[in-house]
């Protein structure tokens, strides 16, 4: 079961506070890095929700974020809608797409599930790539950021935007944690643990999985909305399947099924990438080695390992 433990709270708050400080003190470049971490963290949280707590390892979360980004961009840059309306529409679009993917794949498991989600992601990629009105393979520019000038915030400032993105990470984490503790979340964890028994207890398993996937997609959609506003530009690159792969790496690095771990994983991956790419272009190789090490060391991820050790210690203290 999921419990919002003090360790999780402290981890989330410390990482987000440290990133906020970095964005404030580190100048333009730091702001860019923080936004990249935030977008990746949101995606990783949304993936951990379905993969870590629902057993649905998706390889289309990048594409789902891309759908959110394109919906937001299209409605603001092409159709002239305001940011608020476009946000609601983008979240609705990703939730709807997620519901379809979830419903179709609910009875598929293991590697075939991963392949099916990959296929859905590729479908979205092809559609966007071919859709001339959305700029086709050239992408679409002219996206603008939220207008918060009424409350004296200039979102075009690098620091302001970075801090806003961190706030969204916090909100997404809190919402996911809240849902995981609710009746819906507990049921999802039950499905992950023993799908057949849940069925025997009277649960309509496919429906539950489909809705869980839809909810996760909605969270992923918010990452896409931020990504579009970050670069003021969207392109099919956003929907390439390797983005989804990177999100999965982040979740595993941080700790699958820990919810807080993915935030740590996102920060780790982006900083690592930054450091290593100063020395070599083969940063993927280094990340790969890191990933192998993480899996070999028990597969709990960086945060997951810490949590595991502390929990074991608490148990042996209680027994002593």
């Amino acid at each position: 079961m999921f419990y919002q433990t003090p360790l999780k709270s402290v981890t989330v708050i410390v990482i987000l506070a440290a990133l906020a400080l970095y964005a404030i003190l580190g100048g333009y470049f730091a702001g860019e890095i923080v936004v990249e971490i935030a977008v990746l963290a949101i995606l990783a949280i949304s993936l951990d929700f379905v993969a870590g707590y629902g057993g649905m390892v998706s390889l289309c979360h990048g594409a789902i974020a891309g759908i959110g980004a394109y919906t937001f961009a299209g409605l603001t840059a092409l159709a002239g809608f305001d940011g608020f309306t476009a946000t609601l529409a983008a979240l609705a679009a990703t939730a709807a797409f997620g519901l379809v993917v979830g419903a179709v794949t609910a009875n598929i498991s293991g590697i075939f599930f991963i392949m099916a989600t990959l296929a859905f992601g590729q479908m979205a990629y092809v559609v966007v790539f071919e859709w001339k009105a959305l700029g086709g393979d050239d992408g679409m520019s002219g996206v603008s950021r939220y207008d918060f000038s009424a409350i004296g915030l200039n979102m075009n400032g690098s620091v302001e935007f970075a801090l806003f993105c961190l706030l969204v990470v916090l909100i997404v984490y809190a919402v996911a944690a809240y849902v995981l503790r609710s009746s819906f979340g507990r049921t999802l964890i039950g499905v992950h643990s023993n799908e057949d028994r849940m069925r025997a207890l009277g649960l309509s398993v496919w429906k539950h999985k489909a809705v869980a996937f839809s909810f996760s997609s909605l969270l992923a959609g918010s990452a896409g909305i931020l990504a579009a506003q970050h670069t003021l530009f969207v392109s099919p690159e956003l929907l390439v399947w390797t983005v989804s792969g990177e999100v999965l790496i982040v979740v595993i690095l941080g700790g699958l099924g820990t919810l807080a771990g993915p935030i740590a994983g996102a920060a780790l991956l982006v900083f690592l990438k930054q450091q290593v790419s100063d020395y070599t272009e083969h940063w993927h190789l280094v990340i790969g080695l890191f990933l192998i090490a993480a899996v070999m060391a028990g597969g709990r991820g960086v945060y997951g390992q810490v949590e595991h050790v502390l929990q074991r210690k608490a148990r042996s203290d209680a027994n002593a």
Partner: protein, 248 residues
């Protein structure tokens, strides 16, 4: 309450259930006996909807349920425990029971309420834990629980749904005499209107709790009657080679 009409199940050429007829009164305790491989578990799989029959019909409270799937039958009040433990690994004993209770009560979909922490569910959890003897084990992780505790929880999960019809597949398999005794007492304390079918390999226990006994052999009902009639039956003696005569 439960009626089985001419139920058959073939796995390819293997006829595992053959023309089974059964009728249970409400509140009846029926024990199903039979040697290994007789098709007892298969019969439960057919009743619960895990398997579709090759032919035949199943009625619950007079209504056909043959075409309903597993979860639909569960929602009609049918609950089962398994021969092989089928638990929620990774959760505690209490969380297992809460999950079963909340699911059976349909409290699965709300994102704004926490059924598992509600009083109604906690009361069910405590009540069932008391019944199966797990009251002091609620915080124990299932992965760390003893085989006996896991066996108790297996039955507990089935009871936590507050069923109308309870199917138990060898609930005491692999446990010691103390726990068999406790299980005996448990059956006696269950509400009298609850209809129960128990697959048993322990003949003494079977004779003791049963109102009626059904004996399966090679997928066929070879005998049905009261415990007394069963003890005197030639066909049953033949199957068990007088097994219980010695220790009864």
């Amino acid at each position: 309450m439960l009626e089985v009409r001419d139920l058959s199940k073939n796995f390819g050429g293997l006829r595992v259930s053959r023309h089974i007829h059964m009728a249970l009164e409400k509140g009846e305790r029926r024990v199903v006996l039979g040697p290994n491989g007789a098709g007892k578990t298969t019969l439960f799989n057919l009743l619960a909807g895990t398997l579709q029959p090759t032919s035949g019909e199943i009625l619950l409270d007079g209504k056909p349920i043959t075409n309903l799937n597993v979860e639909q039958r569960a929602r009609r009040g049918l609950s089962r425990s398994y021969q092989k433990n089928n638990l929620f690994e990774g959760l505690t004993v209490g969380e297992n029971l809460a999950l079963a209770a909340a699911t059976a009560q349909g409290r699965t979909f709300s994102c704004f309420s926490r059924a598992h922490e509600s009083r109604a569910i906690r009361e069910t959890v405590e009540e069932v834990a008391e019944m199966v003897g797990l009251s002091d084990r609620l915080d124990l992780g299932v992965a760390h629980a003893s085989y006996g505790n896991r066996r108790q929880l297996e039955v507990g999960l089935a009871l936590a749904t507050k069923p109308k019809l309870l199917l138990m597949d060898e609930p005491t398999s692999g446990v010691g005499p103390g726990m068999i005794d406790a299980f005996h007492k448990l059956i006696a304390t269950l509400p009298r209107e609850l209809t129960i079918v128990i697959i048993e390999h322990d003949l003494d226990l079977g004779f003791d709790v049963a109102d009626r006994i059904t004996v399966l052999n090679y997928g066929e009902v070879v005998f049905e009657g009261t415990p007394e009639e069963t003890k005197g039956s030639d066909v049953v003696r033949e199957i068990y080679l007088g097994d219980w005569q010695g220790d009864a």
